[in-house]
Amino acid sequence: MNTVVITGADRNIGLEMCREFLKRGWKVFAGKFVMELSYMEELQKEYPDLMEIVPLDCTSLESIQAVAAIVKEKAGKLDMVVHNAAGFGSRGADDICGEFDFSGFQVSYNINALGAMRLVQTFMPLMEGGKKRFCITSSEAGVVSVSHRDGVSSYGMSKTALNMALRLMFNQLQPKGFSFRIYHPGWVRSPKIERDGEAVQVHGGKFDPWETAQSAVPQFIEDRTWEDRMVMLDNEGAAWPF
């Protein structure tokens, strides 16, 4: 049976990615970070034998190591890691001339970029004999050459850092049989939440989370004849520079 660890599976894209893997019969270790949400437990009721919910904090090596121990005990090996967890940190003010709060810059960097490194470092030994694939959700927000934002965004900077970390890890691990997927999910709208008695769309967008998950998982699973190249593809299959 194929096995996958998915971070940031509490809701939205991560939750829908879990569903796509489960539909295909994969054993899913779904990382839970937001304890007050229960969407994962509802999904687990549909797939009680395939879905394991594990507490997972990507900023903590110890937390990831604990998940690796669970995977080793319950599955023996791991085929794939999907890093979907994301921290947004502080965007700061639009105007660098004014008051600027730098205190949140470390948050998104630590989750998005260093989190990917901790996952790769920790799960590598469990992946020998498996599919040996790391699938990372990045973003156009991290692509310098097409950056259009005019306010300093710690989120975009963290994704640029992530892409660089992936480059170094790819250079080291691809010759050893590991493969990588870098995925830009497109402009995804958040589900509506209730605020003051009304359903509010916090983030607008072009796609629903389930749509981008349905695009992502086939990209993650299918092998390529060109695994020696690192590319970032979006939910419509278009390649992005980085």
Partner: protein
């Protein structure tokens, strides 16, 4: 009325490149506000040189430096890039995540903090040029390394931050220089010329004018891809 036509802040005047830039700008007749970090050897003050202390990690200390400079400037040079330990580890080795955070906080967020602190003085000046010193390790496209996470991962996001600054500030009249230093080989003599020379030989409203886009250049003036 000031005796000096042009004034520059060099935040990071104490290392090899900073010292060289200080000499070059003084030789060109600029008034230099030279920022030194703890442990740097400071030059003595003159009419043309005002030394001050600053720390890219400490907003309040650097705010005090802003008050010490205390007058409009035409150019800000941010030269706060430094190397960190443990750079030979690959992802299969012993990665120190605390070092990776420290490198990001210094090389990237620290540089932004310096820009933020001195922006009011640039706003009052007429030159409105921001020059950032980095290294080729910031280029993802050019990276064939398997180690050096602190060097690469802390610097790449500064390129993104500079692009975002450019997007926001270019319409307000600011121009930018992003420079890859090459201190080890002593090749940075061109940096002052790069920082001071206007690069556009075309009408500046043309999209491909060098002042209408942000580029990363090395000591040979070659454009380094992101």
């Amino acid at each position: 009325m000031s005796a000096f036509d042009k004034k520059v802040i060099i935040a990071g005047a104490g290392d090899t490149l900073g010292s060289q830039l200080t000499e070059q700008f003084l030789a060109m007749g600029w008034k230099v506000f030279a920022g030194y970090c703890a442990g740097d050897e400071r030059r003595e003050p003159t009419d043309a040189l005002v030394p001050f202390g600053f720390d890219p990690m400490d907003h309040f200390y650097t705010m005090a430096a802003q008050k010490k400079v205390g007058e409009p400037v035409d150019m800000l040079i941010v030269n706060v890039d430094k190397a960190f330990d443990g750079e030979d580890a690959t992802i299969e080795g012993d990665i120190n995540y605390e070092t990776l955070i420290a490198a990001y906080e210094y090389n990237c967020v620290g540089a932004l903090r310096v820009v933020n602190t001195f922006m009011p003085l640039l706003e009052e000046g007429t030159g409105k040029r921001i020059c950032i010193v980095t290294t080729k390790a910031s280029s993802n496209f050019s990276c064939y390394d398997t180690a050096g996470f602190a060097a690469h991962v802390s610097r790449a996001p500064l390129n993104m931050a500079c692009t975002q600054l450019f997007n926001g500030l270019r319409p307000k009249g600011y121009t930018f220089r992003l420079y890859c230093k090459d201190v080890e080989n002593g090749n940075d003599g061109w940096a002052a010329e790069y920082f001071t020379r206007n690069r556009s030989y075309e009408p500046e409203d043309l999209k491909h004018s060098d002042e209408e886009r942000i580029v990363l250049r090395d000591w040979m003036a070659r454009e380094v891809p992101w």
